[in-house]
């Protein structure tokens, strides 16, 4: 076990104890009364501090207006006198000319001198307001505002409407005439009316609402004042959604990050996972593929598993969701990310990778509002590789052949006349994007609805790819009685995606579109494929005899010789192959119906029951169209036959959650408790069908399809999770906070025999709201200050089911045993996998300490966290001695361990300067990932093949003491300049090595270069991630900017394997295109220490996987820039709109990086629908993220 971590729990306990003890010490100090001390003059004390002290000591509420109290001080020490509390208070206030009023038992209101009262006879249409609001305020103890009563004579009537950031009327906004007790609030439409005394007609109206910035509007004699309030994103009274409930931000003791609807408005994203990109410290969002609808990976506080799932748990309106794209991002109200174990523990065995809680918009009472959001735009590739053009290629290609002792190709002999096709231009194309959303909201106080319909259509910038989505959602809320609430949600989504393969993949194939385009000879003329048939000569010119064809996969081949010769061997016609011949389709339909009922049995005791049903139907198919040319011998699988792989997959899931919650306050003790049962059951059924040998490319509809098919799968998978959960929160006076969670999970993934199915996941977190302490009173610039600490345990059960059972499989076609007189092969069975009876979830234990602070009237906010996350019992393959006779000599067991630790900082600034609103935020996170245990064998490692071909064994290795998936390869040592250098080197024994070839370091010093000279040469996991956002609004204009980036990582650029060399195959035409770097190739005359010689017989070792392939993966990307203008209401009203905003936006506008490939946002290679952690940061020609320009509207009717 790691030494450092052994001490960690203790360190955390100490820290927590420290946090708990400090307030106690203060309390103790305060209660040491000294009754005998006489009144005497002391040093000046701030009035505020003294009042807080009194409040503390006598356990009463003293409510005061900061403006009355701040800046005043007293000199008399009455505190330690033997006066009663009221006498003390009176004495203190007298000293500064104030008085108090006892509004209730234990509630005292500090007021201005009585003298004022004489001139102020209450004038208000709501004479009780002062009293009511003060009492309400006093009850809340946290509010510090109070108002002076002022006498008025003549009234001025003012009317208006208060709207929110979307232009919706805001009910319940309180409006107060500044400096008076005159006030009112808006009605359900957001309209208000107020009368102010004539002498105040140039006064100021204060509009305030919890969670929104308060607006101060001068009356200036106007009779109509309309105001728009903007959300106060950093206000600590914000409510965040935690598991199975909500909590006030100020009371949150775990590490929770949030994104709200206004952050994501107008940003073109496919799924809600992308909306998190760059927004929250410690949440890394990467598009594993830039294709429309492509896979996105979200890593909360780094990798959570090596072999299991790394994706967080997504909870949408309380329902666990697998298919994020089924949620229209436009429907999202807010997203809360539970980062630490203490917050996620309420989700037990699914919380290890963090939890993302999504809350969708719900209907608002009032008249029906229709919102239309739409945007459309154009996307393009943001970068092209720097490749040789036709003439350059022709010259270098023949140079390559001649240098290699081969005859030059006459077709390339005159570079100035060769064709010049830019295949990158052919494979990339501008692509449109559009999105339309209509949102209808309305209802009565007791019945509210929201209906939303969306259409999203994104074309792909590579070949034929696209993604389309149709969504519809209905959210209904009914208040059957004040105690009985019912809600209903229906959500449906259709997805239609066509992908394309860009990735060259493992092995020697160049079957990816981008790589194929890049390596294709620019001297092949661009001819439009006609019905799949066109004809070329070996030199690339059009063959009028029609004997040469592009083949099945676009490969150019020649048929007019006895044995077909591929030309250029193995290369495909990029656009033809990827546009016409292959389709990778994905279609999905998904439905959700969810209902909940909540009943308040007695005050504070609520029972809630929610049932959620989901159903999906997904179909992935891969379709290779046949070529209508004769079948050629020797083409094997790739004849002219069409092939189809199709895999319809259906599933459903129900989830029933029952909870009881109770909240009670006794004095300053506030307690809430929650207990519940969560049951979830799902089934899925999938099948995969492969058909081939079809006569042409169309008949997949008739019976011929199934004449030669293989069907596999078809098995229903079942899954169940049964959980018992509980939470207690306790706080004292809103200052000392405690939350404890516990969950017991039972999962059908594990062995029912023995104690394997159930596990318990506890957590505890504490917080101290220091800013509520009296001693903070002297620091008025501190608006909020909270210290937090948490510790908890969560699990990851995202592993394949039934691992505890052995699987018996037949040897199929591979191995049979010939028996009987005729020796007919008989298929036997064997144990394909040995059941691991004790297989369990992976466990993660996390400790977190953090601080939340806000300064200068909440205009500056800071959140900082430090965490250590230790993941144990990770699933891994354990090698076994061969004598056990276990298949592959491996077994999957729990037992790997890993540790993540890091610091997360989020800084915000938010301020209104008159008409200018400005807010900005920066977040930054560090991540230190380290494997702490792999197998019982210390020298062991986990390897993953990332080879692009014959590159000497490119792999990632994961070793103890190192981060996951280090790149493992050779270390270059320049280029051999002379034959003497070659002869003297450790590479002299290798084939074909000559001056001009790459030299590698003999790391183990054994005088030979072989695979033992490889070492760690990089890692694809970022050590630093960061985001920056800024919002400015001025009058009707708004501007927002979002940047994100990562640093401290490398990318293994495997496209270099193909593009740094021209030899594709041994044949004369076997030349591929490459980087323009090849122009600077090593020659005896022009020696280089970077570029190897350009010759057909160059050493194969030049292509070995080495630090030559490794590049810095740091980038900073201007993710989104948006400029909007909201039409003046006067104009929008004319077209019967409440609000009309138009905007233009640019996405992925610039990327600052040293990386030379298409896109440094690399992520992990996707296998089985999820990013493979062991193949992170490897570029085989990944689909790059597109640059996008859009224009859009937000209209509200």
């Amino acid at each position: 076990m790691n030494e450092k971590f052994t001490h960690l729990p203790r360190a955390i306990l100490l820290t927590m104890a420290f946090y708990m003890i400090i307030p106690l010490v203060f309390a103790q100090t305060l209660s040491m009364d000294s009754p005998a001390i006489e009144r005497k003059k002391l040093q000046k004390q701030s009035l505020r501090g003294v009042l807080l002290l009194l409040k503390e000591r006598y356990q009463v509420d003293i409510v005061f207006d900061d403006k009355l109290v701040n800046g005043r001080s007293i000199e008399t020490d009455v505190l330690n006198s033997d006066l009663s509390f009221e006498e003390k208070l009176s004495s203190i206030l007298n000293e500064v000319g104030l008085r108090y009023k006892k509004t209730r038992k234990d509630v005292y209101l500090v007021m201005a001198p009585k003298a004022d009262k004489k001139t102020a006879s209450g004038y208000s249409d709501k004479p009780d307001l002062t009293q009511d609001s003060l009492e309400a305020t006093a009850n809340q103890a946290a509010e510090k505002e109070t108002f002076k009563g002022i006498e008025m004579q003549v009234a001025v009537n003012i009317r208006g409407r208060v709207s929110d950031e979307n232009g919706n009327g805001m009910p319940g906004v309180s409006i107060v005439l500044k400096g008076t007790t005159i006030g009112t609030s808006t009605d359900s439409n957001g309209d208000y009316a107020i009368s102010v005394p004539d002498e105040q007609k140039n006064g100021i109206l204060l509009f305030s609402f919890i969670g929104y910035t308060t607006a101060e509007t001068p009356i200036n004699g106007q009779s109509t004042i309309n105001v728009q309030l903007m959300p106060d994103i950093k206000t600590l009274s914000e409510v965040v959604v935690i598991g199975y409930g909500t909590q006030k931000q100020r009371e949150v003791t775990g590490a929770v990050g949030s994104v709200t609807t206004k952050d994501i408005a107008g940003v073109a994203v496919t799924g809600l996972d992308q909306t998190l990109q760059g927004r929250i410290a410690g949440v890394q969002v990467t598009q594993n593929s830039g294709e429309p609808g492509g896979n996105v990976s979200v890593r909360i506080r780094g990798l959570g598993s090596i072999n299991g799932s790394n994706e967080p748990l997504y909870i949408v309106d309380g329902v666990p969701y697998g298919s994020l794209n089924a949620i229209n991002p436009n429907d999202i109200e807010r997203i809360d990310v539970l980062k630490d174990a203490a917050s996620a523990a309420i989700y037990g065995s699914r919380g290890s990778n963090g939890v993302v809680i999504v809350t969708t918009k719900r209907g608002v009472a009032g008249k029906v509002q229709v919102t239309l959001d739409a945007y459309a735009g154009i996307q393009s590739a943001s970068r092209k590789l720097d490749l040789l053009n036709g003439p350059q290629f022709a010259r270098l290609a023949n140079e390559n052949l001649v240098n290699g002792g081969k005859d030059p190709n006459p077709a390339w002999s005159n570079p100035s006349t060769v064709p010049n096709t830019d295949w990158q231009d052919q494979i990339f194309r501008p692509a449109p994007i559009q999105s339309y959303n209509v949102n209808i909201s309305g209802g009565s106080e007791k019945s509210r609805s929201l209906v939303s319909v969306g259409y999203f259509d994104q074309g792909g910038i590579v070949a034929q790819s696209y993604y389309k989505r149709y969504t519809a959602r209905i959210n209904n809320d009914f208040d059957i009685s004040p105690r009985f609430k019912v809600g209903l949600t229906l959500n449906g989504a259709f997805e239609d995606k066509r992908g394309t393969r860009t990735d060259g993949g493992n092995g020697s194939s160049t079957q990816g579109g981008l790589i194929t385009a890049a390596v294709s000879q620019p001297t092949i003329p661009l001819v439009a494929p006609q019905e799949g048939l066109f004809s070329l000569n070996p030199d690339g010119s059009i063959d009028p005899t029609g004997n040469n064809y592009y083949g099945y996969d676009g490969t150019v081949f020649v048929t007019n010789v006895a044995t077909p010769v591929w030309y250029p061997q193995g290369l495909s016609h990029p656009t033809y192959a990827y546009e016409k011949l292959r389709e990778e389709n994905f279609k999905s339909q998904e439905f959700l119906a969810a209902a909940f009922g909540e009943y308040e049995l007695i005050k504070g005791l609520k029972v809630r029951s929610a049932i959620n049903l989901t159903f999906y139907n997904r179909n992935s198919e891969s379709f290779w169209k046949g070529m209508p040319v004769p079948i050629l011998e020797g083409r094997g699988l790739y004849g002219s036959n069409a092939q189809l792989w199709t895999g319809p997959n259906q599933g459903n899931q129900w989830n029933w959650i029952n909870t009881v919650s109770y909240g009670k306050s006794v004095g300053k003790h506030n307690l809430t408790a929650l207990a519940g049962i969560d049951a979830l059951k799902g089934t899925s059924q999938g099948i995969s069908i492969n058909t081939q040998k079809n006569p042409n490319d169309q008949p997949f509809v008739d019976g011929a399809l199934f004449s030669d098919r293989t069907v596999s799968g078809g098995a229903p998978g079942e899954f169940a999770l049964l959980s018992y959960l509980g939470r207690v929160t306790y706080d004292y006076a809103g200052k000392y906070l405690l939350t404890a969670n516990i969950r017991r999970d039972g999962s059908s993934n594990f062995n029912p025999d023995g104690d394997y199915q159930y596990g318990v996941f506890p957590s505890v977190s504490v917080g101290w709201l220091m800013s509520e302490e009296y001693f903070m009173a002297s620091m008025p610039f501190v608006s909020q200050l909270k210290m937090r600490a948490s510790y908890g345990e969560v699990g990851n059960q995202g592993i394949p089911a039934f691992q505890y059972l052995s699987i018996y499989a037949n040897e199929g076609n591979r191995r049979r045993y010939p028996l009987g007189l005729n020796q007919d092969p008989v298929v036997g069975f064997y144990q394909d996998r040995i059941g691991t009876a004790d297989i369990r979830w992976e466990t993660s234990t996390q400790a977190n300490i953090g601080i939340d602070a806000a300064f200068l009237d909440n205009s500056i906010s800071l959140t900082a966290d430090y965490y250590v996350k230790k993941i144990d019992d990770m699933l891994g393959e354990f090698p076994l001695p061969a004598y056990l006779g276990v298949q592959n000599n491996r077994i999957i067991r729990n037992g790997f361990s890993m540790e993540n630790s890091g610091i997360e900082i989020a800084l915000g600034y938010n301020r209104q300067f008159g008409d200018l609103g400005f807010s900005t935020g920066v977040n930054f996170a560090t991540l230190n990932n380290k494997v702490t245990k792999l197998t019982n064998n210390e020298t062991g490692y986990v390897s993953s093949n990332i080879s692009a071909g014959d590159d000497g064994g490119a792999e990632t290795r994961t070793k103890v003491g190192e981060p996951v998936a280090n790149f493992y390869g050779y270390v270059t040592d320049g280029i051999f300049q002379t034959q003497e250098e070659v002869d003297a080197s450790a590479m002299s024994g290798l084939a074909d090595v000559k001056p001009g070839d790459r030299r590698y370091k003999d790391l183990n010093g054994d005088g030979v270069i072989n695979d033992r000279d490889r070492t760690i040469i990089g890692n694809g996991l970022p050590k630093y991630t960061f985001g920056f956002n800024m919002n400015v609004n001025f009058k009707g204009f708004d501007l927002s900017v979002l940047l994100n980036g990562q640093a401290g990582l490398e990318i293994a650029n495997q496209t270099k394997y193909w593009l740094s060399h021209m030899k594709y195959s041994n044949t004369a035409g076997g030349i591929n295109n490459g980087f323009t770097d090849l122009l600077e190739s090593w020659t005896p005359e022009n020696r280089s220490n970077t570029f190897t010689r350009n010759t057909h017989d160059a050493a194969r070792s030049n292509r070995w996987f080495s630090d030559f392939n490794i590049e810095n993966g740091t980038f900073l990307r201007v993710r989104n820039v948006q400029l909007g203008y909201t039409l003046p209401e006067a104009i929008s009203r004319m077209v019967r709109m409440n609000r009309a905003r138009i905007y233009v936006a640019a996405q992925n506008l610039f990327t600052f990086t040293e990386y030379s490939g298409y896109d440094p946002e690399m992520g992990s290679r996707v296998s089985n629908g999820r990013g493979n952690a062991l193949q992170t940061g490897v570029d085989f020609g990944r689909y790059p993220v597109s640059r996008m320009f859009t224009g859009g509207i937000n209209f509200q009717f």
């Binding site: 052995s806 191995r815 004598y883």
Partner: protein
């Protein structure tokens, strides 16, 4: 009322899932056989037994490896020739042998464990047969392990993690287990006739007896060895074929006739590269001269098993088995036998003056690569029996068995003599002439302590450690508790 409501609600919530155990219970997907669904029928047991036989075929080194290490045969290229290079703990061929034998043992353990849990519907007859065949396979596996490695792990239970740290079991105890298993097998297994045509190729009662007799020889329990041999003869299932070739190749269609006791089954034409179907051997190609075209080996001759000329030179000119060996430069069935091409520049050893064994060449049928590999045939059984009888002092009977094999090769009978060394040398020569390039040859030398004689005759260095294979290093890396044989 309110309270009652509250309590009822809470109680309901808490009791709703009182049947929690059922809630999490699922049947695994029916498209896969698991512990829940497999080993329920005799057919399933049968198919798992066949899967176990398959391992005999997956180990592709029966002839090559055994031929090499006995130094009767040599490769043409870079595969190590002499025992100093071959007998090392990192030698792949040795670890492949180790692994395959243990896979058979492990699969047999699974079968036996599952047989105990098998449903009552499995008939007694099926149970007995399954147990017999399984114990034959396990006995056979440990027979191979004990004679090659000596002390080694003996595992009789299915996998558990504790097996990763076991220590070696003394060789003697392994032999006891082999004898126990083969004894049950010899009682429970059907004879060839009882198996019927469809099951030709599977282990029989006779096969169990032959290996049982051989196992007793390791224990020097000559009485029991003789008893097992007599039982086999009493079955009256086996006889020597009329000619040496018939004892080996020409009679192999249909195979498993009179002389064959137990063979690795390979299928004619059963090697398809594209599908990696491994039901055919490549022994014909291995043993044919390099460059021979189609007729002897559809995959060409590779010259990977060439014989030294000393073997044929040592044979009596009358010996019909000489015709099974063809010399470089001679013509065999119309084709000139060529010197193997020497590959690579670092391998300087000349391979001129070599012979080729034609044992595995099925003639011009084009089906060369279906040659079965005999693991025990009647000629070898008789030579074993001769040794057993001699050890029992039954000199005359011993020579009778030896002479039976000789006379089939058209050699004159040897005169009966009680001279032990004379008999043993005669037996060794006879084995060499009869059984060269066959899998058991090497173990005869190590069992009888005559490896030194062979090495001396070949003029090659000898080290006593060669009498046992080294335990593979990779295994000792995984389990440091494992023993290693002396000298390694």
């Amino acid at each position: 009322m309110k309270k009652a409501l509250v309590y009822t609600a809470i109680l309901t919530l808490l009791t709703v899932w009182s049947c929690k155990d059922k809630f999490l219970e699922f049947n695994p997907p029916p498209n896969q056989f698991t512990d829940v669904t497999f080993f329920k029928t005799a057919e399933q047991f049968n198919s798992f037994i066949i899967g176990t036989y398959t391992e005999l075929l997956r180990f592709t080194d029966w002839t090559q490896m055994m031929g090499y290490i006995s130094q009767e045969a040599r490769p043409k290229s870079t595969i190590p020739m002499d025992l100093t290079a071959y007998m090392v703990p990192t030698q792949d061929r040795i670890s492949n042998y180790w692994q395959s034998m243990y896979v058979i043992g492990s699969r047999a353990n699974i079968l036996l464990a599952k047989l105990e849990e098998a449903p009552a519907t499995l008939s007694e007859a099926d149970r007995a047969r399954i147990e017999g065949e399984t114990k034959f396979l396990r006995g056979f596996a440990y027979f191979n392990i004990a004679r090659a490695f000596g002390n080694a792990p003996l595992l009789l239970e299915t996998y558990s993690i504790s097996q990763t740290t076991v220590e070696c079991t003394p060789e003697d105890q392994i032999w006891d287990q082999v004898i126990a298993d083969l004894t049950v097998a010899s009682q429970n297994l059907p004879t060839r006739a009882e198996w019927g045509d469809a099951n030709y190729g599977r282990a029989t009662k006779g096969a169990a007896m032959a290996f049982l007799a051989n196992a007793y020889m390791y224990k020097k329990n000559w009485e029991a060895a003789a008893k097992a041999s007599e039982d086999l003869i009493a079955l009256n299932n086996y006889k020597l074929a009329t000619t040496p070739r018939a004892g080996f190749t020409e009679a192999l269609t249909p195979e498993n006739t009179g002389e064959s006791i137990f063979e690795v089954q390979y299928r004619e034409g059963g090697f398809e590269w594209s599908n990696q179907v491994q039901t055919g051997s490549l022994i014909g190609a291995f043993t044919a001269p390099d460059g021979i075209s189609g007729d002897y080996a559809p995959f060409g001759g590779w010259g990977e098993m060439v014989l030294g000329q000393d073997l044929r030179n040592s044979m009596d000119p009358l010996d019909e088995r000489r015709s099974l060996i063809v010399r470089e430069g001679e013509t065999y069935k119309g084709e000139r036998m060529t010197e193997p091409v020497i590959l690579g520049t670092t391998f300087k050893l000349t391979q001129k003056n070599v012979d080729f064994s034609t044992k595995y060449w099925l003639g011009k049928s084009g089906d060369v690569d279906g040659s079965n590999v005999p693991l025990m045939r009647y000629a070898e059984f008789l030579l074993n029996y001769a040794e057993i009888l001699f050890e029992q002092g039954k000199t005359t009977e011993a020579y009778a068995q030896l002479n039976a094999v000789r006379s089939r090769a058209k050699l004159p009978d040897l005169a009966v003599s009680s001279d032990r060394e004379m008999f043993m040398r005669a037996l060794m020569n006879e084995r060499r002439w009869e059984l060269n390039t066959e899998p058991n040859m090497w173990f005869y030398y190590t069992r009888t302590g005559r490896l030194k004689d062979l090495k001396d005759a070949q003029g090659q260095p000898y080290d006593p450690k060669y009498n046992k294979f080294p335990i593979p290093q990779s295994e000792r890396d995984q389990n440091p508790n494992l023993c290693q044989n002396e000298g390694y």
